[in-house]
């Protein structure tokens, strides 16, 4: 087994009296999709926040590509190859799809802001950035809506843009928080195909409620209940695990 690209060791997050995430450990490997499932309120999104650096952990360690990154802010983690999509669509609504992607693609090229050279050239004249944005555009199938404002896009297309933006930063680790949220069957199928294609070359974490998608995509499954991991393993093992059946799969709605 190759070295994990992202490794969490005993991550915990306490909000006042509430222990939202309790000693969770997991690792993400290249070319692998690790799904995290569990009932609502299990702490899945909070865990994702901890992994992406959106909120600091109360205790535990985080390792990215063999380097300790505990306590790093999310912009720093992002620069080191960690990309994250959000459960609630978090794009630049007033900008067009292309502008959204350009802003994302530019991040890797960002001069320090105090470099005056960054002040005189037009942003859209940077060929490398344009190419990166273009790649993300086509990979996510958004070429037809390139110049449409994000705010007027359908929900499903917005979710695709949500992923496309992360891809434009060319991360090695992908954290995807409910990418299929609110999607109809056809849209979901397109998304699953996209995610399948992304498995190659990326280490992926998928938080999802859609069980069909989860079992189609996951190589490893972790089940969380009330902030704690109750089971972790291959999809087959999880499917037949008694604890999991009792806690979750029995009541799950795809």
């Amino acid at each position: 087994m190759t070295e994990p690209l992202l490794e969490a060791k005993q991550l915990s997050k306490r909000f006042g009296g509430l222990l939202a995430v309790n000693g969770v450990s997991l690792s993400l490997h290249k070319d692998q999709l690790h799904a995290v499932i569990g009932p609502n309120g299990a702490g899945k999104t909070t865990l994702t926040h901890l992994l992406s650096g959106d909120i600091p952990a109360t205790s535990g360690e985080l390792w990215l590509k063999g380097q300790s990154v505990s306590g790093w802010p999310h912009h720093r983690l992002s620069l080191h190859g960690l990309g994250r999509s959000y459960q609630k669509t978090n794009v630049f609504l007033p900008l067009t799809v292309w502008e959204n992607l350009m802003l994302a693609a530019q991040a890797r090229d960002a001069h320090a802001p105090f470099n005056p050279l960054a002040w005189f050239k037009r942003a859209d004249h940077n060929q490398a950035v344009v190419a990166r944005a273009d790649r993300a555009l086509h990979l996510s199938g958004l070429a037809l809506v390139r110049d449409k404002t994000a705010a007027i896009l359908s929900h499903g297309i917005q979710r695709q843009l949500e992923i496309a933006m992360v891809l434009a930063t060319e991360p090695e680790v992908l954290l995807l928080d409910e990418p299929l949220a609110g999607m109809g069957a056809a849209e979901a199928e397109t998304m699953v195909e996209l995610l399948q294609a992304l498995k190659k070359d990326h280490a992926m974490l998928l938080v999802e409620h859609d069980m069909d998608a989860v079992f189609a995509l996951a190589d490893v499954l972790t089940v969380m209940v009330n902030g704690t991991v109750i089971a972790s393993g291959t999809p087959e093992a999880i499917r037949s695990d008694a604890k999991v059946q009792a806690a979750y799969l029995g009541e799950a709605t795809p």
Binding site: K121, R122, A123
Partner: protein, 327 residues
Amino acid sequence: MSAPQAHLESLPRSVQLLMVLGLIALVAFPFAGQDFYTQMVTRMMILAIFAMSLDLLQGVTGLVSLGHAAYFGLAGYVLAFMSPADAGASWLTTLPLAMLGSGLGALVIGFFVVRTQGIYFIMVTMAFAQMMYYLFFDNKGLGGSDGMYINVRPAALGLDLENKLVLYYFTLACLCVTYQFLRRLLWSPFGRTLNGIRLNEHRTQALGYDSFSYKLTAFTLAGALAGLAGYLWAAQTGYVNPELMGFHMSAHAIMMVILGGMGNVAGALIGAFGFELFLHLFKDLPKVGDFDLGKHWQLWMGSLIVLVVIVAPQGLMGLLRPRSKDD
């Protein structure tokens, strides 16, 4: 209603035309008008530079600063300190130094202020500007409440700013350079990022941008440009006092930017000229019977501002901009 606007950088055709015509008018103006009006327009141009510097902060990056005048006044004081009592300093040295001083002041204060958000940011910018105000007000060594005089205006390279006409064209040149610089900045990667921060700071950070550094840089740059305006103001009036850093001056700047329309630099310019014109208009109102309309200009000015907020929150640019198909 409160969703942030995008594509503020694009100028409608009408405005582009207005800019060109305006430039021609400004170049030709001194030959057509009297001395008094030349000075008035010089002042408008200085305020336009001030307003544009604030637009970088407010309209582009989305940071509402109630203390921008601190950097405006600071530059004026630098000139005052560097001007000998009986001779003019060289603007070749004092102008860059004044802008550096303002920029440095903005960098130091910005370090504390930029880490705050929303309402806090508004309040602390105001507070720190007041701090500067009191620093100068309370200390005789810095001029105290009386301020300082610049007895002889700066000169260099044969351009003597004592000469009203030279000052006019010098200011016009500064105005054009500032305008072009900021317009280019809007389309640069730096400007795009500032825009992103305004629209969705959280996602901008998630993409990998260190938004704190970007905001601090914008704050510092805006401060330095405010310093350019402040230097010219001091060069024109020959006098600096703490009021130049005060709340009213900062409020003045915000109102100019809003009146014109934020986010594209041209609006700030238009707003500055418009604001000053309205001010002169109200102050020059005649007496109606016993009631001196002009004396109570604050009432009219205040009402105009309230009206603009309620009816046209996007300012004049908002009114001139064609409805996009996405509205």
